[in-house]
């Protein structure tokens, strides 16, 4: 089974490590609740 999330264009800045692995066609093993990315639509209030 699979879950797919689609975000609006430019709405999220996905974490770089996840994008880097995916661009090598390499899946990343993750757990529920791990950080996925940060909103870009508004100036993020979160200092990461």
């Amino acid at each position: 089974s699979t879950v797919i999330c689609v975000f609006e264009k430019g709405a999220i800045q996905i974490d770089e490590d996840l994008l880097a692995n995916s661009s090598r066609s390499l899946e990343t093993l993750v757990s529920v609740g791990m950080k996925l990315g940060i909103a870009t639509r508004k100036q993020s209030k979160t200092d990461l």
Binding site: S1, T2, V3, I4, C5, V6, F7, E8, K9, A11, I12, I14, D15, D17, L18, L19, N21, S22, S23, R24, S25, L26, E27, T28, L29, V30, S31, V32, G33, M34, K35, L36, G37, I38, A39, R41, K42, S44, K45, T46, L48
Partner: protein, 598 residues
């Protein structure tokens, strides 16, 4: 020939047929050594050499592949027709013709023809316009050895079809052709075929890792242990890769010295190592079943295996029925690499090599997918429903300890909310809850941080174009296709895409990735193909846009709208949501779960 020639010819006459049969084979010079090796093994010594000797040895021990074609028929009334050809215990059928007196099928099938095996083919023609059953209207019997050795300029022969209740009544005519494939061609075509299946980067050559996958799938532990040595032996020109010709040579030479292929990578059957030619024939036919180079459908395996085996090979979830032998199959186990984000290490995930190859054979070929179209879609749903009923039964609970033992390295029972005795069915265990707090939610108080929705293998892309470039190869994939007709996709055009793939051993509840409100929940009916990367990476398979799924739209303050699509798969096709439209949700909340069922 035809109906009258239903008895086998006398022995001496048969020998003469075989000689003529061999003369029909075109054996060319550079293949002679290999052919001689093959037959020398069968005879214990290899006295003699040269073409004449080859013909003699080969003719005495002939086994080959006959290509039989059911071309067309002339019947006495209009109907929708289908024809079957039976040889020995195997039966294959054509598709159903148009409503006509002159059906045209042009259907062909490769059949193994052995000297001491059956060679009397029975062809049956059925009318099919009745809902309840097909009626046998006419039949004929053809001695294939006689057919193949007949002097004829025509590419086909016409046979009378007889009434099944009276062999003196002619009910129609059928046009049939039959030819024999050169065993060397069979062997080369086999090498070409298996090379294409394990040639992941499709450069026409095998790298060392691709070569290793192949050797593993052959099921030979000894060979698996000396794969480097074998690779060096195969790579004659030392260019670091193995070409098709080099692979064919290795298979021929090595099989004589020390059998390489001990089990069929497709059907798993243990092969008779002393019978090299039949091994190649078996593998050729078995691979052809998967890629469907012929139009007639049926099975090289038994009927039971054909109807049951293939379906299980369509999914890695087959392990649920075979986990006591499946991945522990040792040399046939293959693996995929995954990057573990927590430990920052590459980890290997085992998967049965035969399953990998079978799935590649089926999902990654256009005609393999056509095989699925022929009723298997319904079977996948039916088998998933059946599995759901089974996993909901009290009896299924006894499988839980075996499952836990099998996945002991990947399952942490300390995280599970309830002890094993709590679960009364396997499905209850499958959708187990976790103890509060064992999955901490990142930046819980910051709704502008999205989190992962499932324990899974994740792929993430900035836009759809990247997802198509790196991962999703289905030619029909689109955002609109994924979301279905009821959801307007304009919000998501060129949006970012994150894929969470769950494996059998995973915690099967999915959680909310962003905080907001559920605007919509839409069921999209569909198929239950596997969602394994092998299918996702196939240009012929569109699992994300054709599988059964539930689409939810979440409205958020920070991310705008987010589409959350839960996609069912073979065996695990039941999708349950624990929230409803209008509910406010907080990231990390439990959102629903996947379970066994259709």
């Amino acid at each position: 020939m035809g109906h009258a020639s239903s008895k086998s010819p006398p022995e001496e006459e048969e020998g003469s047929h075989l000689s003529r049969l061999k003369q029909k084979l075109h054996i060319h010079g550079h293949h002679h050594h290999r052919l001689r090796r093959i037959f020398r093994r069968s005879h214990g010594n290899g006295s003699g050499s040269g073409a004449s000797c080859l013909k003699l040895l080969a003719a005495e021990d002939f086994a080959g592949i006959a290509l039989i074609s059911l071309i067309s028929a002339e019947m006495k009334f209009k109907d929708k027709w289908l024809a079957c050809v039976s040889l020995g215990e195997k039966t294959f059928r054509t598709e159903i013709s148009d409503h006509t007196e002159k059906p045209v099928w042009n259907s062909e099938k490769k059949l193994l023809l052995e000297r001491n095996g059956p060679h009397l083919a029975r062809i049956s023609v059925f009318e099919t316009n009745r809902i309840s059953k097909n009626n046998l209207i006419g039949y004929c019997e053809i001695d294939l050895l006689e057919f193949l050795t007949r002097d004829s300029d025509s590419d086909f022969e016409v046979f009378e079809l007889f009434d099944p209740s009276s062999s003196s009544i002619v009910v129609g005519k059928i046009s049939v052709s039959c030819s024999v494939e050169d065993p060397i061609e069979t062997e080369k075509s086999f090498a070409r075929h298996i090379l294409s299946i394990v040639d992941y980067n499709e450069d026409g050559q095998l790298s060392f890792s691709e070569f290793c996958d192949l050797i593993k799938a052959f099921g030979n532990q000894v060979a698996a242990n000396k794969r480097e040595e074998l690779f060096k032996a195969a790579d004659k020109n030392g260019d670091g890769v193995v070409s098709m010709d080099e692979l064919a040579d290795l298979l021929a030479i090595q099989q004589e010295k020390e059998p390489l292929i001990t089990c069929c990578p497709v059907c798993g059957e243990i092969l008779e190592v002393s019978d090299r030619l039949n091994t190649v024939v078996h593998l050729s036919l078995c691979f052809d079943e998967g890629t469907g180079n012929q139009i007639m459908t049926g099975g090289f395996l038994t009927d039971k295996q054909a109807s049951y085996g293939w379906i299980f090979k369509l999914s890695e979830w087959a392990h649920f029925s075979t986990y006591d032998v499946g991945l522990n199959f040792g040399s046939s186990a293959s693996h995929i690499l995954v990057f573990d984000r927590r430990t920052k290490r590459l980890v290997e995930e085992l998967i049965d090599g035969k399953i990998v190859m079978s799935m590649r054979t089926i999902y990654q070929s256009k005609i393999g997918l056509r095989l699925i179209d022929k009723g298997a879609k319904e079977l996948l749903i039916s088998i998933s429903e059946k599995q759901g009923r089974k996993m909901n039964s009290a009896e299924s609970a006894k499988d839980i300890p075996k499952f836990v033992e099998f996945f002991k390295d990947q399952l942490n029972l300390a995280e599970v909310k309830y002890p094993l005795e709590h679960f009364k069915t396997f499905n209850e265990f499958f959708i187990r809850e976790l103890k509060p707090g064992v999955r901490p939610i990142a930046f819980m108080e910051h709704d502008d941080v999205a989190v992962c929705a499932a324990d899974s293998r994740l792929m993430a892309f900035k836009n759809i174009a990247d997802s198509l470039r790196f991962w999703i190869k289905g030619q029909k994939f689109s955002t609109q296709g994924l979301l279905g007709k009821e959801i307007r996709s304009s919000n998501f055009i060129d949006g970012s895409l994150v894929i969470f793939r769950l494996a059998p051993q995973d915690y099967h509840r999915f959680h909310v990735p962003v905080s907001g409100t559920i605007e919509k929940l839409v069921n999209v009916p569909g198929n239950l193909y596997t969602v394994n990367p092998i299918a996702v990476n196939s240009k012929y398979c569109n699992v994300f846009t054709e599988n059964k799924r539930v689409v939810s739209i979440i409205s958020t303050a920070e991310f705008g709208k987010v589409a959350f699509v839960a996609i069912g798969a073979t065996m695990v096709g039941s999708i349950t949501f624990l929230k409803k439209e209008g509910d406010s949700i907080k990231k990390g909340d439990e959102f629903g779960y996947f379970s066994f069922g259709g």
